[in-house]
Amino acid sequence: MSTATLAGTQVTLNAEGFFDDPTQWTRDMAVEMAAADGIGTLTDGHWKVIEFMRREFLEKGAGPTVRMLGKVSGVSIKELYQLFPKGPAKTAARLAGIPKPKGCI
């Protein structure tokens, strides 16, 4: 657990850089994290995934798997990996300010 300053605001992140409290998150923070991560500028495609992840998490209490993202988010698995080459579920969850996805799939 550590504190970091994102978009001018102090937030609490865990050891892997995921938000401890999703309500602290703002879109500006995602922009800043993406730039620092080497993802660069967030495109409409990125936002579609990030917003979907957040919505799912807030509704169901857990972020979606890549399989579900591919089926329901409207972004195919191929595109997901192009948008987030370091792993879509993990990277997008971090940028969306929600916990790291659990599970093996």
């Binding site: 798997t65 890549v66 399989r67 591919g70 698995i77 370091k86 879509p88 993990k90 093996c104 799939i105």
Partner: protein, 160 residues
Amino acid sequence: MPEKTEPEKISKVSIIISKGSLEGIYPGLIMANGARAEGMEANLFFTFFGLDAIHRNRIDHIKVATVGNPAMHIPTLLGGLPGMSALATHMMSKKMEDLDIPPIHEFIEMISDTGAGLYACQASVDMFGLTREDFVAEVKDIITVGDFYDLAAGGQIIFT
């Protein structure tokens, strides 16, 4: 005292799938998919009976082995009864669907879409008298063991 350093992360895996039963195929698929999900490079190499996992006509009919497997916890003679393998497969598939683990065919498509490379083993393909047309479209190529080692260079190899 020497300074303790974090072990270097694995950045690439090449996974060999050599068995054609449901329980022989899934672990390799889950590991390959998981590797991609962690941002690692991943290759899958199907050899011997593992070729069934990418065989056009067999991919949708992969079954659990109910004989000769003490961990099934049923007597071998019972496991050999007609329909036992189908029943066990049905039960296990349902359980996996509940856990959001895709059926093998969908999993193969998904893993290919993640950017992992799927390859068939030349020696096994020759031995079983198969051709490129026998395999699903996701298979990139039929390669020799030498090609496999070239592909695997710089990463870890996992045999299943």
